[in-house]
């Protein structure tokens, strides 16, 4: 029993270490001098830690702008996604309308199609609408993620109909019911969903790369990729860029962990 427990703990610690190690090394390398990380064997810690890489990033490279771009795009993506996903998921779960289940099945079936396949048609569509090279175009794929709708719908299914009916008898309009009854109950799942979308759009590389031509509009991943093409040799600078990209979402994730975990667990615990 106890020996077994130790084994499990040990294994968990090992996995955790394996996961965290690259991140820690990334942090370490970002403080190294140019070329230092390329030595053999690679050093674990910088010989002479310095902030030079960060100075270059925020100075001549101007990463501040891309950071701001990323924050703007991800925040807008999150807000828009929630705005469309929550009412849609709720409607698919709880409102009666013709073709509800057929539509939903169609949506779920579309999940099977990899997102990349839709990118070219979407690009052409947006081009026709004149949205290429704008944040409006960059945000379109986030408007209503099928997975988000699915998630919200599943969670809404656990809300008893009688509760909504009680509210209807109390005179609440459908909008009022959504805001005053459903949203508060959905809080954990909303936080979870918001995190998913924020992370997803923050880390997204492909779509912004396709849709954003103007360098001034680049988000962090796209800007970093562009930078790596110019500075192929400069691993230390790249690592500093990676730190700037990872840190904000890591902090966000840790700050919301409490809600996030409860959001993932409630479904299963409540049955």
């Amino acid at each position: 029993m106890s020996a077994r427990r130790w084994t499990v703990t040990l294994l968990a610690a090992l996995v955790a270490l394996l996961t965290v190690a690259p991140l820690l090394w990334m942090l370490s390398v970002s403080f190294m001098a140019p070329g230092e990380a390329a030595q053999f064997p690679p050093p674990l810690l910088p010989a002479d830690p310095s902030l030079d890489n960060y100075r270059t990033l925020f100075g001549s490279f101007g990463i501040g702008r891309f950071l701001a771009n990323s924050i703007l795009v991800s925040t807008l993506a999150t807000i828009l996604a929630l705005l469309f996903t929550i009412p849609a998921g709720y409607a698919f779960a709880k409102l009666r309308f013709t073709g509800r289940d057929a539509t939903f099945r169609l949506l779920v079936a579309a999940l099977v199609v990899p997102g990349q396949i839709g990118m070219l048609p979407l690009f052409l569509e947006l081009k026709a609408m004149g949205l290429v090279n704008s944040y409006a175009g960059a945000l379109v794929p986030w408007l209503a993620g099928i997975f988000g709708i699915f998630l919200v719908r599943q969670y809404c299914l656990s809300i008893p109909d009688e509760m909504l009916e009680a509210a209807r008898i109390d005179g609440a309009s459908e909008g009022h019911i959504l805001r005053r009854i459903v949203l508060p109950i959905l809080t954990p799942i909303i936080v979870t969903l918001a995190l998913f979308v924020f992370l997803g759009s923050w880390n997204d590389f492909m779509w912004p790369l396709i849709i954003l031509a103007d360098q001034q509009l680049y988000t962090l991943p796209v800007a970093l990729a562009a930078m790596s093409r110019e500075h192929v040799q400069d691993n230390e600078l790249m690592m500093a860029g990676a730190v700037v990209t990872t840190l904000p979402v890591l902090i966000l994730f840790l700050a919301l962990q409490r809600f996030y975990l409860s959001g993932l667990l409630t479904g299963s615990v409540k049955g």
Binding site: E162, E165, A166, R168, I169, A172, I185
Partner: protein, 361 residues
């Protein structure tokens, strides 16, 4: 306050007819109970009155106003659900105030209404708790409180006691009766439990498969059931039914060949007609008497004060339940004489409809 009338209500879900022409009049201030086995359409009927379900056909009139096409909130009803359906993120006070706030009542009005309802139900100390911190019985009260606050013309209750344990159910039954006396609000109460129906109702409506079997006071239904279904649905243990064939001279021949004296009927039946003879367990008399028949005691269920004795004419014959005060003297396997008094018998025709007894005086 107001009366309620349901006129020829029909409802189908796809092919299945759930309500097949139900008409009910509930007088102002009356406590009416719809009782019937599960799946007979009770909830559907109640939800139609509330406006949560649209009727395929028929009208709902509350206080002389046709509400058939009005939304739930404008019908002047309040409903208490089986699951209570409290809002989990709101306190008890907020739960009860929810409707009034939507109706834009002033804070003073809301507070007054909530406090009054809380006082009636003795839940003042719970007002600031969330539903998760309440017991089943307390949630039940809050759900009722939320209904009272609306000051409805009609209360609708859908099996409100079915989620409570037996002990609490008895207590809440008493409270429902008290509440009704205190408020005098017209009430339509739905249950599958005949004891609730018998104890609470001014009038019972027995529903089966979307059709009303009988309407009347609890006493009426118990004494003069219109058919075998009602006869057996009300009362525990349920009424014994014996198959018999009418013979000459107010006698019937039972399945086992023995004769049984019948009551005088309003319209005589031709000899040779098959009938069902019903007798309630408490009406069977054990002990020697003219007309008593010998039976073997198959099985005795002792409940403390009362015992149910299962009497058998022959080894494999259908037992007749007999309820009596338990003095501990009856033994399984013993042979006793038992009388089925003619004036306590119910007669039903081959279709299960009651044959009326001769009216004396």
């Amino acid at each position: 306050m107001a009366g309620l009338s349901i006129e020829n209500a029909r409802k189908s879900f796809g092919e299945t007819q759930v309500l097949r022409g139900v008409s009910i009049e509930v007088a102002d201030g009356e406590f009416a109970v719809i009782v019937g086995p599960s799946g007979c359409g009770k909830s559907t009927l109640l939800r139609a009155v509330a406006g949560l379900e649209e009727l395929s056909e028929g009208r709902i009139v509350i206080g002389g106003r046709d509400v058939t096409d009005l939304p739930p909130s404008q019908r002047g009803i309040a409903m208490v659900f089986q699951s209570y359906a409290l809002y989990p993120h709101l306190t008890v006070r907020e739960n009860m105030a929810f409707g009034l706030k939507i109706a834009k009542a002033t804070k003073a009005e809301v507070d007054a209404a909530v406090n009054r309802a809380a006082a009636i139900l003795n839940i003042e100390p719970l007002l600031d708790r969330k539903p998760a911190a309440l017991s089943g019985g307390q949630r039940q009260r809050v759900a009722i409180g939320r209904a009272i606050v609306r000051q409805p013309q009609i209360f609708l209750f859908d099996e409100p006691l079915s989620n409570l344990d037996a002990d609490l159910r008895v207590r809440m039954r008493y409270e429902f009766a008290k509440l009704h006396r205190q408020l005098g609000t017209t009430t339509l109460y739905v249950t599958h439990d005949q004891v609730e129906a018998m104890t609470l109702a001014d009038r019972i409506i027995v529903l089966r498969d979307g059709i009303i079997e009988q309407v009347g006071s609890p006493r009426d239904l118990y004494e003069r059931p219109a058919n075998i279904f009602v006869a057996q649905f009300l009362g525990t243990p349920r009424m014994n039914i014996l198959n018999a064939v009418v013979a000459d001279g107010d006698q019937a021949r039972l399945d086992d060949g023995r004769s049984l004296a019948l009551p005088a009927l309003a319209a005589p039946i031709a000899p040779g007609t098959a009938v069902s003879v019903g007798i309630r367990p408490e009406d069977v008399r054990i002990g020697a008497a003219p007309g008593a028949l010998p039976f073997t005691i198959g099985f005795v269920e002792r409940l403390g004060g009362l015992a149910t004795v299962h009497l058998q004419a022959a080894k494999d014959s259908e037992p007749i339940a007999c309820q009596l005060r338990d003095d501990g003297s009856l033994r399984e396997g013993e042979t006793v004489a038992a009388l089925l008094p003619p004036d306590r018998l119910h007669l039903f025709d081959a279709d299960g409809g009651a044959l009326r007894r001769e009216v004396r005086e």
